[in-house]
């Protein structure tokens, strides 16, 4: 066994990112590490590469226990990493990037000629013949990715971690990178492959390990797996354990909002969607299937290149978030920390932010009114805090999410989009948010809920739209909303599509 990880644990305030995870890697294998966002993949990799210190457990590489404290140290011990975003410097030449930190020197100065020759020799091993004096940034991303692999292998040489290396490559480029990876596997390296493109996982890997909520779900030979089982593992529903939790079918309702032919190249293909008053539409799909992009199109974060939106009274302008807000839309984004909260402001300030922005800064909301609003929502949503003047950054994830919700509710939108509303929050808060969603619809608000948890979607949705490869591929209503139907729709291999 080249690398063996046992009982790995990592705890962050409020969450258990890794809980007793076992993982092993043999020399000469490509091992896929899969899971949705927040499953613990990146935490595991960060522990391996020294970006995080592990909380507990053992990592043994080639018979010796390791505990890297930095990426450089991990590299020296034999673990190299290539990230999704190329982790080299585009402003340096190819040779400088390859040889950085170990340039051949003569009389204390860098021997450019020797450096060039060595860099060229390194690339020749991968069948590349490049002008190594050109800036790295002037080459296509696939070439840059191979150069990054070449550097990582040269520095570490035992374990290579590929973290979403193909996310920004087209199909031909992916093949090119995969050829390189297979070559390295045949040379006896152990390769960890993280990707959310299942086709690539089946194409390239020998074994698969699936994580969910910080725990290992399964490790299996890729050959013996099929797509449905794999997706079932990832989304947390064994197909046998079917449903008892279908949504209450409240019958069809007149559409309040109508979206037609909305699309944006590279984000999501054209789709139609109607949303009725008080209806909850769920969006299901794997990471990267176009869920978040759909939400961004509807809210004007990205402008749709085609299509139109309308309500009973006429067409709507959704070209910018401001316009969408004016049309009565709201969006609680997926990444709460960067896009949702303003960590240094208080709870009160975070709640009134949207309302104040709509009024314009020239007409401040009176302080008494602000206090009333904040107290009201703290009570209504049961936000656990010592007071309304507490910095929101000090709250737990679930309570932060409630504050973000409160901000939108204060603006009284008619259509609220929730992107992963329960990500990274504990079970209790989870249930409260689900209950809140149900309450809101009873008041006539329409919602679009995006979630990678099938149970959650089923619990709240009147209708579930399934996305795959950036397309809306299925729509399930009423009794069709069942885990096996959703998983089937996600797993079905549609017309082969280039990953872009």
């Amino acid at each position: 066994m080249l690398l063996s990880i046992s009982s790995l644990t990592k705890v962050f305030p409020g969450t258990r990112a890794l809980d007793d995870v076992h993982f092993d890697l043999q020399a000469g294998e490509v091992h896929a590490l899969l899971g949705e966002n927040g499953a613990g993949k990146s935490t595991l990799i960060k522990c391996l590469t020294g970006a995080y210190r592990r909380g507990g457990g053992r990592m043994v590489l080639n018979g010796t226990e390791i505990d890297p404290r930095s990426t450089v140290e991990a590299q020296d011990q034999g673990i190299g990493t290539v990230y999704q975003e190329v982790n080299l410097l585009p402003n340096l030449t190819v040779a400088q990037n390859l040889m950085f930190g170990r340039e051949p020197r003569r009389f204390g100065l860098v021997n450019t000629r020797a450096m060039r020759a060595e860099a060229r020799a390194m690339l020749n091993q991968y069948g590349l013949d490049l002008d190594v004096d050109r800036d790295l940034g002037s080459y296509p991303v696939a070439i840059q990715q191979i150069i990054a692999i070449a550097r990582a292998v040269a520095l570490s040489g035992k374990v290579l971690i590929l973290d979403e290396p193909t996310a920004s490559l087209d199909a031909a480029e992916v093949r090119m990178v995969f050829d390189v990876v297979r070559g390295l596997r045949d040379r006896g390296l152990g390769i960890v492959f993280v990707s959310h493109f299942l086709d690539q996982v089946f194409d390239l890997t020998d074994r698969v390990t699936v994580l969910r909520n910080g725990r290992k779900v399964v490790t299996e030979e890729t050959r013996s797996l099929d797509r449905e089982r794999l997706i079932g593992h990832m989304l947390g529903r064994e197909l046998e354990a079917a449903t008892n939790q279908t949504a209450t079918d409240r019958g069809p309702r007149p559409p309040m909002l109508r979206f037609q032919g909305m699309s944006r190249r590279g984000a999501v293909e054209a789709f139609d969607m109607d949303v009725g008053q008080g209806e909850v539409v769920g969006l299901a799909g794997l990471l990267g299937s176009g869920r978040t992009e759909t939400a961004e199109l509807l809210f004007g974060v990205r402008t749709a290149q085609s299509g139109s939106a309308s309500d009973q009274s006429g067409p709507l302008n959704l070209t910018a978030p401001r316009a969408a807000i004016a049309a009565g839309f709201g969006l609680a984004p997926e990444d709460r920390k960067t896009d949702g909260i303003v960590a240094d402001l208080t709870i009160r300030e975070n709640i009134i932010l949207g309302l104040q922005a709509r009024r314009g800064w020239a007409r401040p909301i009176p302080r008494a009114e602000q206090n009333r609003l904040a107290d009201d929502y703290i009570k209504r949503l049961d936000i656990r805090t010592t007071g309304r003047e507490k910095r929101i950054g000090e709250l737990s994830g679930g309570n932060q999410q409630k504050v973000v919700l409160a901000r939108w509710l204060a603006m009284n939108p008619r259509f609220l989009i929730l992107d992963e509303p329960t990500r990274g929050i504990d079970v209790g808060a989870h249930a409260e948010i689900v209950r809140l969603i149900q309450e809101l619809t009873q008041q006539g608000m329409s919602l679009l809920v995006i979630s990678s948890e099938i149970d959650e979607l089923i619990a709240v949705s009147d209708r579930v739209i399934v996305l795959r490869d950036r397309r809306h591929v299925a729509e399930l209503t009423g009794s069709q909303i069942a885990p096996e139907n959703i998983v089937k729709a996600i797993a079905a291999t549609g017309p082969k599509q280039e990953v872009a």
Binding site: T71, L89, N91, L92, Q96, F100, E103, P140
Partner: protein, 324 residues
Amino acid sequence: MNTRALPLYVTIAIFLLAYVICWTQFPTMLSTRVIGNLLTDNAYLGIVAVGMTMVILSGGIDLSVGSVIAFSGVFIAVILRDTSLHPLAVFAMLLVLTTAFGASMGFLIDRLAMPAFIVTLAGMFLARGAAYMLSIDSVPISHPFFQSVQGAYWLMPGKGRLTLIGVLMVLTFIIGMIIAHKTRFGTSVYALGGGEATARLMGVRQGRTTVLVYAFSGLMAGLSGIVFTIYTGSGYSLATVGAELTAIAAVVIGGTLLTGGAGYMFGTFIGVLTMGLIQTYIVFDGSLSSWWTKIVIGVLLLAFILLQKGLLKLSQDRLAGGRG
């Protein structure tokens, strides 16, 4: 062609073009005398621009250098007036002082993760204040060593004078080029300017590099102060106000990206000469007022910023276009 080198070629082309225009109007401008004076008159600016280039390449900025030059002049003049130390000993003391000053600014920038702009702005006020503390008035220097250094030159064919300080500037540029392009430290500087997080992942010792970069800039500012003192023969605390901005302008006109990571030491050399050339032209013309220098430099700066922005977009488009 490498798009990174394009600004350098543009800089050289503009300089040559400007020289040709000057020459057609005033044929005497193409003489070793003018070239000698160009080097002498801009020696202090060139030297400080070498340090500034290094700082800007690393993605930082150093606003303190103008004040450090003035402080250097006053420091040298006051110590020579009040003690019997040899100027060379005073120079050595000064260089140690300004290097340490730069290093401590670099330390603060790195350790406190403070913007270089703020830390060196504080350094600018500190150094200027220290100069005032030593003397408010202009202090003349009458040491015989100074007179001999001021008079040191080589006669070029055509009666041009290649002065000691002019040669010093050229040497500084050569050393700067070697450091920037031929040492691991230089590569680290480019790496930091290209992206701090990535540079750290690749093993750049960020703290050490940052401290060294600002120490180098401090050393260059001290050396520039010495040259400026030799050039003017006195120390004055109100001298070289805004020299840091002139140096930044020379670096940018020389084709270095203000955000760091791309540029050439040689470009800065041409940038300094271009700015000197504009001044020389105005002197030759005689009827133009000296503020035309500033206007032309302003226009050139703007043009270069637009050029860099355009190049950036061009290379991004090309990358995007290549992916289909």
